[in-house]
């Protein structure tokens, strides 16, 4: 009986609750990230949130922990809560399409962050990274360094290893293709002997690079498609006795992608030669500007690619301010000193 009364009570309270007005006059934007597993995603999430705050926009947050279905539920929940804009970092290019469709139904602006969706007819803006271009430039720089060492190698080609990401991820494909393009242009001095499909998994990366170094002990150039795999690379190189700073005769040329704090520390220690950096600050500004422009009914370019930058030993000082990982390190060092 009591349960029945409770049900009836709830039945009365529901329509009342539905009639409640939204509090405050601030805009509300829902930010849904597929993961916060790596430092890049955490930094991006924080930067977007602070950028929204700067524009006096309330942020609703949702992390789906790699579950596309949960992310769809979260996006629909944003729509039900009548947000003024949605920012999504999706799991992949396909499962984001029903999310865009759901948001489009309510004519809410949506920006896809970092992972471009597959072709679809729905209205959205994508703010991404030129993965191909940044990786090609990074590997080009490594090849320049490799070329400088050629006289000492008596014409022997550098043997290269690449750690690839999840090849279902369009970003991982762009980075692999950028690597291949640069290597092709430098085929006279670099030969790829091992390709490790990591599926963005550190254990698989460690096993792959360890096996690669055992099969080809003369590997002298390594590129990882993400900085978050650097611990695996360092561990495998150390175990193989090949982890030395630049200038050491047995130094393995090392390149990476992202711009995280470990990459910055390694650049400072001269153990990393070059890092392709995604300019998370510029991207976050673009994301928020796009939402505001779409709300204002302005015409917005549907695909905005951040050209990023290559940070290396020679330009480290002047590029530190654009490297998000460097900022994290410097902030933490300042906090420790203070």
């Amino acid at each position: 009986m009591i349960s029945r009364r409770l049900i009836m009570g709830a039945g009365i309270s529901l329509p009342l609750a539905a009639c409640r007005p939204r509090t405050g006059g601030r805009l509300r934007v829902g930010v849904a990230f597929e993961t916060l597993q790596t430092e890049y995603w955490v930094a991006s999430f924080d930067i977007i949130r602070s950028e929204l705050e700067k524009n006096n926009i309330e942020t609703l947050e949702a992390i789906s922990d790699g579950d596309a279905n949960r992310q769809l539920e979260q996006i629909k929940s944003f729509v039900a809560r009548r947000v003024d804009g949605v920012i999504v970092a999706p799991k992949d290019a396909h499962t984001v399409i029903p999310m865009i469709k759901a948001v489009n139904r309510r004519d809410i602006p949506i920006v896809i962050y970092n992972r471009p969706p597959a072709e679809n007819p729905y209205k959205r803006v994508t703010v991404g990274t030129d993965n191909f271009g940044i990786t090609r430039n990074t590997v080009q720089y490594l090849c320049q360094l490799a070329r400088q060492t050629m006289p000492a190698r008596a014409g022997k080609k550098h043997k290269a290893l690449i750690l690839m990401g999840d090849l279902g991820d369009i970003n991982a494909i762009g980075r692999r293709d950028g690597f291949d393009a640069a290597v092709k242009e430098n085929a006279d001095i670099v030969e790829v002997v091992t390709r490790v499909p990591t599926e963005w998994n550190q254990e698989k990366a460690l096993a792959g690079i360890t096996n690669g170094l055992q099969a080809h002990p003369d590997i002298s150039l390594v590129f990882t498609s993400s900085d978050f795999l650097l611990p695996s690379v360092v561990s495998a190189l150390k175990n193989a006795g090949k982890f030395h700073p630049a200038g050491h005769p047995e130094h393995v040329l090392l390149g990476a992608f992202d711009g995280d704090s470990m990459a910055f520390r390694m650049l400072r220690d001269k153990t990393l030669d070059a890092d392709g950096v995604q300019d998370a600050y510029a991207q976050s500004r673009l994301v928020v500007q796009s939402i505001l422009a779409m709300r204002a009914g302005e015409k917005v370019n549907p695909l905005v690619l951040d050209p990023g930058l290559v940070v290396h030993q020679e330009n480290l000082k002047e590029t530190t301010s654009r490297m998000w990982g460097a900022q994290l390190v410097l902030q933490s060092e300042r906090a420790n000193r203070g």
Binding site: I2, S3, L6, I7, G9, A10, S13, L14, P15, L16, A17, A18, R20, L60, E61, A62, I63, S64, D65, G66, D67, A68, N69, R70, L72, E73, Q74, K76, S77, V79, A80, R81, D92, A93, H94, T95, I97, P98, A118, D166, L167, G168, E199
Partner: protein, 344 residues
């Protein structure tokens, strides 16, 4: 000889005494039934409403119903298995395999519009039934522990789904699948028109049929059930088979929602499945539970998810809270079992 009390004739009728139910007895009765989960859900909803007014938004309520449906299907299947004293860890990989298999058939067989959705859905159900049957056969014929069998199936199935697709999703699914999974007649989702009858059938099966009662008997005491003439192996096989089919039904709904066949679909749904069944009063030790309780459990889990999201809590916090709730539900299950055991 006992003298009659003063004022009472030995032949006079005994005055009727109204049965008095004490509060503690009433609480015990409510706690022992599945209704308390529904009451808890409503109470939780009402308590949170002032802090999260969006929770009561009609569109949000519709969303809660939509979110419940696939979970309901797979959780009802798990209930059938738990009733026999087993567990099916492989439901997540069944969902992934069905999603990939169904999506592949829908996109490559070139069937005409409408038929592709129907045939693809039946392919999914067939895959689910097959994997469930395999689990049941290994458990009943090879006398292997359900935990090990379904763990192995889960690992193999997940790996196989990724292997088949090279971890790529399968897009381009029929529009009718998306319509079936995402839309409805007014506020009533089309999927409800399938999941609700399935739930009612399972409820009736457990309560009204001999085979349904055998499931309870097998879970309560398999040996005694066997001696009493219950075909324990056939009943167990049936439970795993139905569990596979119901996991496949949820795969149809999940796949339609994402409009993509995904080899990692449902990977993270297991906590919710077990949580919903245990919160709904299904015993992890077998022999006790109900479909209605599981539906209420699904409602509670979905409500927690939805409300904590609205409150702006991170996914990690939500997981911790859900884990704690499930732990308490399992603890309650253990306590009830001990009480029942003591009473026997």
């Amino acid at each position: 000889m006992v003298e009659p009390a003063a004022g009472l004739d030995a032949h006079s009728p005994v005055p009727a005494i109204a049965p008095r139910i004490t509060l503690s007895a009433w609480l015990r009765r409510v706690f022992a039934s599945e209704t308390w989960v529904l009451a808890l859900s409503i109470l939780y909803f009402l308590v949170l409403l002032p802090f999260a007014p969006d929770l009561g938004n009609l569109e949000n309520l519709e969303l809660i119903v939509h979110n419940m449906l696939p979970l309901c299907a797979v959780a009802i299947g798990q209930t059938l298995v738990l009733l026999t004293g087993g567990i099916d860890l492989s439901v997540t990989s069944i969902i992934a395999l069905c999603s990939v298999g169904g999506a592949w058939s829908m996109t490559t067989w070139g069937l005409p519009g409408g038929l592709d959705f129907v045939v693809g859905s039946f392919v999914m159900l067939a895959i689910g039934a097959f994997v469930g049957w395999l689990n049941g056969m290994a458990i009943t014929r090879l006398s292997m522990p359900p935990f090990m069998v379904t763990l192995a199936t889960m690992m193999f199935g997940s790996g196989f789904a990724v292997y088949l697709t090279r971890s790529n999703g399968i897009p381009g699914l029929p529009h009718s699948l998306a319509v079936f999974s995402q839309e409805g007649i007014g506020p009533i989702p089309y999927a409800l028109l399938v999941v609700a009858p399935v739930g009612i059938l399972c409820h009736g099966f457990l309560g009204k049929t001999k085979a349904g009662r055998w499931l309870f008997a097998v879970g309560a005491n398999g040996r005694a059930a066997q001696i009493s003439g219950v075909p324990v192996k056939r009943v167990t096989l049936l439970a795993y088979g139905l569990c596979g089919v119901l996991a496949a039904l949820s795969a149809v709904l999940y796949t339609g929602r994402l409009e993509t066949g995904s080899p990692v679909l449902g990977q993270r749904v297991f906590l919710d499945v077990i949580g919903a069944t245990v919160i709904g009063g299904t015993s992890l030790f077998g022999g006790r539970g109900s479909v209605l309780g599981t539906v209420y459990g699904v409602l509670f889990i979905t409500l927690i998810d939805n409300s904590l999201n609205i409150l702006g809590l991170s996914n990690f916090t939500i997981l911790m809270i859900k884990g704690t709730v499930i732990l308490f539900a399992a603890l309650g299950d253990g306590l009830r079992r001990r009480r029942l055991g003591a009473g026997r």
